[in-house]
Amino acid sequence: MFSEMFLKLWNNGIIQKGIWETIYMTFLSSAIAYVIGLPLGVILNVTGKEGIRPMPILNRILGFIVNFFRSIPFIILMVAMLPVAKLIVGVSLGNKAMIVMLVIASTPYIARMVESSLKEVNAGVIEAAQSMGTNNIQIICKVLLPEAKPALITGAVISMVTILGYSAMSATIGGTGLGQIAISYGHQRFNSDVTWCCVFLTVIIVQIIQEFGMWIAHKTDKRIHD
């Protein structure tokens, strides 16, 4: 049923390693991207026109940078950012470099996601908090982020699935993981069962992230259920 190539890959643990690499790149990139993207999204929100501390110039500059990176197709961004990866992690090949790419590509996306999640918080609740004498930091930490938590988790799930997709694409310039297996062992050597196996495994990983993430989002949301 399976081709020789598939059995060889399986028996040598290459597919298993690919699964692990995909998961590890996705999670690590997401984590790092959130460390930068979350504060960036908060700043975009609070300095916006309707934000708690409007700063039009800063907002416009950040908005421009974010839009700039978001408008470059990932595959081109990757190639363009190779020197940057080399500068940051010393290499322009392999997983370390790919993680830099994934972070650069997904941070602006995450920032916008966070910004729009925070926008969902009822302006009246923010006003009520202000009427109690909260300062802006307290509003961010005690009102905006906790009230937007379900939307933030949903956003994180969507971001992670996107990053997982990017990680597969990174195989074209030296990334590893299931994408790389699909391309070099499946596509280039005409073993369609290897390709389909990688697709199938990717679908399963996406499903797990999606279902688990939504379950947490629903569980933590106190608005709908008892």
Partner: protein, 329 residues
């Protein structure tokens, strides 16, 4: 004491200037319940937000206990806001926090210790009658219960003033009544000065001591509720007191006068006496009774016969009676 002096607020956009409030002068004494009534768009919400500087006035002074708060530092302002509670039409509870943690929120902000804050919050929940819902979430409460929690939250830091921005407008009449009773009770027992913003006359009737009528960004008239009610001078006040009366009665030629019945005579059949004694028919265009400070004030608009002699006879009778009357224009 809160004094608003020559207060004004304008919003500027590129080619448009909108005046929200203009030339507002008010004094709100400690311990009273002060009502500000107006139609939507009159500037009520802006006005009440100028009191805790959620809106920064573009002109004039907001003097609280002798200090012009438009001039104090931001740090002092944040501290001052703890002495001015506020509740809203939309309740504005934190949806992801339990009831008790909502009430604890302002105490947390003020840096109160957790166990102390909890004790205080429980006290307040007892006051509003929701101590058994402490660990519920706002989404599990009814509108009236949410507003009660919002009141408890606003009172957590022991404020001297409480601002109510259309606090009962989203509630049904019975719930409105119970929330107003609670506010009255808070005013009586805790001595909190309450400022009520509303478009509903019944809110003013039921709890306010004094009222200001806001119309097109300005104060149209101001005074004790019973006085404004008996003798409204401005057109807007009349409209608010008779909300159902659309000013377009068919005029048959007769003069229209407005009669006000003082609570002391509410049990006497004054109109019947008038008709029987004068032997002249009148048509009643509008009638209403309102409870203010426990007394029933009646209002009636009648049309006199077009025959001048008959009309004069009734006027003479009225002038000698206990009924207050006024020509309706």
């Amino acid at each position: 004491m809160i004094e608003l002096k020559n207060l004004g607020k304008k919003y500027k956009s590129k080619n448009l200037e909108i005046v929200a409030i203009e030339d507002v002068n008010l004094t709100i004494k400690d311990g009273e319940i002060y009502g500000i009534i107006g139609l939507s768009g009159a500037g009520k919400s802006t006005l009440v937000r100028c009191i805790n500087l959620l809106e920064i006035p573009t002109l004039g002074q907001v003097i609280i206990d002798g200090e012009d708060i438009t001039k104090i530092s931001r740090k002092k302002l944040l501290e001052l806001r703890r002495s001015i509670g506020m509740i809203f039409q939309g309740f504005n509870l934190l949806e992801q926090r339990t009831v008790i943690r909502n009430v604890m929120f302002p105490l947390e902000i003020a840096g109160e210790k957790l166990d102390k804050a909890k004790t205080r919050a429980m006290e307040l929940l007892k006051l509003i009658g929701l101590e058994d819902r402490a660990s519920s979430y706002p989404s599990q409460l009814s509108g009236g219960q949410k507003q009660r929690v919002a009141i408890a939250r606003a009172l957590a830091t022991n404020p001297k003033y409480l601002l109510c921005d259309e606090a009962t407008s989203a509630l049904d009449p019975n719930t409105t009544r119970s929330i107003l009773d609670l506010l009255k009770q808070i005013n009586d027992t805790m001595g909190v000065t309450i400022i009520v913003i509303t478009h509903e006359m019944r809110v003013i009737d039921q709890i306010c001591d004094r009222v200001a009528v806001l119309d097109q960004s300005r104060i149209a008239e101001e005074g004790k509720v019973s006085e404004v009610f008996i003798n409204p001078k401005s057109k807007i006040a009349k409209e608010l007191i008779f909300p159902d009366k659309k000013a377009n009665f068919e005029i048959h030629g007769g003069r229209r006068i407005r009669l006000t019945f003082h609570p002391d005579y509410s049990m006497e059949p004054l109109i019947s006496e008038m008709i029987l004694e004068c032997q002249i028919p009148i048509s009643i265009l509008f009638a209403d009774i309102k409870e203010i400070d426990g007394g029933s004030y009646g209002q009636m608009i009648v049309e006199l016969p077009s025959e001048n002699k008959d009309a004069e006879k009734i006027i003479t009778w009225l002038t000698n009676s206990v009924i207050e009357w006024q020509e309706e224009v």
